[in-house]
């Protein structure tokens, strides 16, 4: 029942946006409020899971399922969704978009959100695949909201690379299913995750290896793991601000979730070693690529995108570091969601004021928009892992897990790469914050509402940096139990 509350609001919202023409500000408000219902449902699931309750299932052939892992993802997705919907264009009278554009925006973003929610609540890995493919399609429609050369280019690269990747993931899924079928005949529910997992120990290692390669490369493309990350900086920097916030905040995490689901199954077949090796290799590669790309990046939105790649790589490494690592990675995922969605939205404000994405074009931010500047600084310092923000703790836990599992050299490398990114980001940040603002840029802060909303993220980050609420900790432990059995 709760599943309906989780999934339907966004569908209704999409329908609303589609049916009411021309666009009215009312639609924006209603959709935003609707998203709260989904959030409530997600929280309910999370609470249930944290209490250690059995995972509820729903629908024909147990289509949907919400164990701890799904619940956490649901909360992240729903939270970011409602944040973004509340900060979407088209609330006030004036907006840089035309009504038709706003209508398109409202329609697709809600479908996008719906497909992400479906991904994380799907029980059947096939359905999961379909949903993820859907996220690509809907978001690709949104990127060229205003037709510019760069936005079109970005969307084309995005949809082509990701569709190919996802197609490969489907091949992987087929192979997994094939192995199951050859073992125990055809079955309707064979693609249901628990069933798959139950029969996993007796599957053929050779086949599962191949399957996992397809899946990792496929879903990894979507998750922005190097070297399949190349679409990410373009898409994230060219998409409308709310979309890039959602993509960077949760879409990557959702794709990573898919990888994780399969990792569990494959591990059950072959033991952890194999998948861990692959994840560490690609994760480290992503770290290298991302942190060095930040050093020379001239465009702040691209810088943020690269930092997302960096953190995805970090999470991959974390997932490969045993229970402690999984705990750290999941914590990191939540923190990163909070931080990145905020920083992208703030970057949008900066862009709106300065009309440039070049770092050197933005100066004296502290003078022109103190509030935004302060929060941007907080967000960026959080992303590079400074106390008292959550990412400090999670990165810390991750490193610790690495040392505990006897990988000091790997962790040394990670620490150094993080340091490189740290210095680079600080340098870029300072260049934006200080100095004299260019002439023609209005001085003074506007739009207190969004800042107020974003301060929720800051609050969350600080809370997670100072303490770990008991229910949250339980939830994470549940996840660890699910992932590393």
């Amino acid at each position: 029942m709760t599943f309906l509350f989780l999934l339907f609001p966004s569908l209704i919202a999409a329908a609303l946006a589609a049916s009411i023409r021309p666009y009215r500000a009312l639609v924006g408000w209603v959709n935003a409020l609707l998203s709260l219902a989904a959030l409530g449902a997600a929280v309910k699931f999370a609470d249930h899971a944290a209490r250690g309750g059995a995972a509820p299932v729903f629908g024909p052939g147990e289509l949907l399922r919400a164990d701890g892992l799904s619940a956490l993802m649901m909360v992240c997705v729903a939270a970011v969704a409602s944040l973004v919907l509340f900060l979407s264009p088209g609330f006030g009278r004036e907006s840089q978009y035309s009504p038709s554009q706003l209508r398109r925006y409202q329609f697709f973003i809600n479908l996008f959100i719906f497909s992400m929610l479906l991904t994380v609540s799907a029980n059947n890995v096939g359905v999961m695949w379909i949903a993820i493919e859907a996220t690509t399609i809907f978001s690709a429609m949104l990127i060229p909201l205003t037709l510019t050369k760069s936005s079109v280019e970005a969307s084309w690269k995005y949809i082509l690379i990701c569709s190919v990747g996802i197609a490969l993931a489907f091949a992987g899924t087929v192979l997994g299913y094939f192995d199951f079928v050859t073992l125990s005949g055809r079955a309707e529910n064979a693609l249901n995750w628990p069933v798959l997992l139950a029969s996993a120990p007796s599957l053929h290692p050779e086949v599962m290896k191949l399957a996992f390669v397809f899946l990792l490369v496929g879903y990894g493309t979507k998750a922005g793991i190097a070297p399949m990350h190349t679409w990410l900086p373009d898409a994230h920097s060219e998409a409308p601000t709310p979309l890039s916030a959602t993509m960077s905040g949760v879409l990557l995490a959702v794709a990573l979730y898919a990888v994780l689901r399969w990792k569990v199954v494959v591990d059950a077949t072959l033991g952890g070693g194999y998948t861990n090796k692959l994840l560490i290799a690609l994760g480290l590669l992503s770290l290298v690529v991302a942190s060095f790309s930040i050093v020379l990046s001239r465009n702040y939105k691209r810088m943020l995108a690269y930092s997302s790649i960096e953190h995805t790589g970090l999470m991959c490494i974390g997932l490969a570091l045993g229970p402690l690592g999984v705990f750290a990675a999941m914590l990191h995922l939540v923190n990163h969601t909070a931080a990145k969605s905020m920083t992208f939205l703030l970057a949008g404000r900066v862009l709106h004021r300065y009309h440039t994405t070049q770092i050197k074009g933005v100066s004296g931010l502290l003078k022109t928009m103190p509030g935004t500047a302060g929060m941007l600084a907080a967000g960026l310092l959080a992303t590079i892992g400074l106390p008292p923000f959550g990412l400090f703790i999670s990165e810390f836990a991750l490193i610790r897990a690495g040392f505990a599992t006897g990988r000091p050299w790997l962790m040394g490398a990670v620490l150094i790469l993080l340091a490189v990114a740290f210095v680079a980001v600080i340098g870029h940040l300072n260049r934006m914050l200080y100095g004299a603002p260019p002439e023609g840029v209005a001085v003074g802060e506007k739009g207190g509402r969004s800042l107020a909303l974003l301060s929720l993220n800051v609050a969350a980050l600080v809370t997670l940096g100072l303490t770990l609420p008991a229910p949250f900790e339980n939830l994470l432990n549940q996840i660890v139990r699910i992932v590393s059995r």
């Binding site: 690269k157 390669v213 490369v217 790309s293 400074l386 400090f392 703790i393 000091p408 040394g412």
Partner: protein, 673 residues
Amino acid sequence: MMTLFIVMISAYAAGAPGALLIGRGAFGRGVAALGACAGSAAGLAFGMSAIVSGRSFTLVSAWGLPGVDLMTRLDGLSAFFLIIIGLLGLAVAVYGYGYSVSYERRYSLRMLGAMLNTLLLSLSLLVVADNALTFLISWELMSLSAYWLVLTEHDGAETVRAGVWYIAMTHAGFVALVAMFLLMSGGDLTTSFAGMRANAAVLSPASRNAVFLLALFGYGSKAGIVPLHVWLPMAHPVAPSHVSALMSGVVIKTGIYGLVRVALDLLGGGPVWWGGVVLGVGAVSALLGVLYALMEHDLKRLLAYHSVENIGIILIGVGAGMIFHGYGLMTLAALGFVGGLYHTLNHATFKGLLFLGAGSVLHATHTRNMEEMGGLIKRMPVTALCFLIGAAAISALPPLNGFASEWIVFQSLLEGFNIPKPEVAMIMPIAVGMLALTGGLAVACFVKAFGVTFLAIPRSQEAEHAKEAPLSMRAGMALLALACVALGLAPFAVVPVMGGMLAGLGRLPDTRMDFTLGLSLASPNGFAKMSPALVAAGLLILLCLTPLVMLLLRVNRKLRVSDSWGCGRIGQTPRMEYTATAFAEPLRRVFAELYRPAKELTIDFHPESKYFVQSIEYRSEITPWFEKYLYDPCLWFVRLLAATVRRLQSGSLSAYLVYGAVTLLILLLIARM
């Protein structure tokens, strides 16, 4: 006891948000200063009472937050550093009240006050931390608050650059420290230091060495040892002067604290070469620090380089102690450590004093360039006197505190002949030579600094119209000046206490007895005796006696004031004075090999005849050695890598797809193997 601790913490903790909320105006500055004052006073009292009682006890274990359990414990060493923090914090807070007036409506006073309190809080937590997590968190908090303080006057490009350098260096150090603690604790950072001690004992020699080297790097980058010192001369000048005093006096000392804590306490000492490395690094830092200071004409940069020098001297003492420790000569080891730590305390006082003095000068003349100062001794007498005391102290002149601690360091080096191996023992005389040269050059440098800044005729309008600093600033300086004198006169009281304080760290004996409480300070096994107090008394008597005798002998007491004699030329202008550059010229020539000065002399003659010179312009700058030969290559390398990685993102869609396809094929093939 407990109450004092709570008072300290809560005062800082109240001061920070208080300043943040009220911020501006006399009241806001007052709130900030009050929080800092109360906190540091409490800390001072706390440390005193603890160190005198000589007991070490757990303050609070596992307080605050689930998941992150902070553990704090106070032993002699922590108490000692608490005293340093308290003493300097007090002076700085008082001084800052007056100094930050000039920041009103120019820079964010809220940030300044809040961060100052945060910095003091994190420092105090840092030295009482009892597990790695607490230590690292407060370490990072300290670095950050210091970073924001450095960026206070953020509208200068120089300032921002300095900030980035500072945060980069300190973060590199932080990374090393994280790795070190993880190595030492086997992954669990919440284990108390006691547990870590036990754990470190069973580590393999290789990993013990790794821990030591990581510690040296991590703490060295904070302490500013050569070649990790580059951020000091950038960050200290641009920070507000009382912050510079705090950073130079206390923040960089946390590096020393950490090194002693880890190398001596947690690791329980190590092989002799550890000590050798520390000693060598110290000697080099001392010498290079003072040599670069000599060439500086920016008063605060000069002082910053002297911080490098004094960190070097401290490390010489510590290193000697570690060497002796390695040979099991425990009493001598104690002597070395006492020397180093005593100098830590002393440097905190006189360097703090000097930075505050420089701040007053800056406050009055609005320039840091010594070439535009002069004659200030008549316009700001109190500042001049305080600065003179500081200068004499840092030049290790008796009877001030610099002399007392350097004497002990010297003694510990002289005792080097007790080392069984002559080839090792031969390190000591060389160190003695370098230390002595450092001392001599320091004297030269501070003759320059004081003479050019305060004496003779003003070289600029600002200096001409300089006004004495307001009361609060003078009070802050006076406090530290008194501390300099007191610590100089009473080492016989301080040193035994420190001997007791070190007892037990790394199996050091309680050497309280070896350092007699008599008036004269004696090094162990009666190697040498010296009593600054009596020397001071003697000097004082003679200073009074001489005029008295002259009075009795009825010498001519007439005094006529007139022009100074200059080979018959009339009138004297500032341009005739000896400049700081000229003053340092002989030494620049002597050490030309190191400085590699780039000179350029442009003379343009009168068009008629070349015997009439219209103007002579002489410019000469020295090569910043480390930036050029160490850091530039590193940066170049990083940029190279970055440029290479950049090429991946070529913009060509097909290339992107190829990456994916190739990855897929490679992984598939790997999977088949």
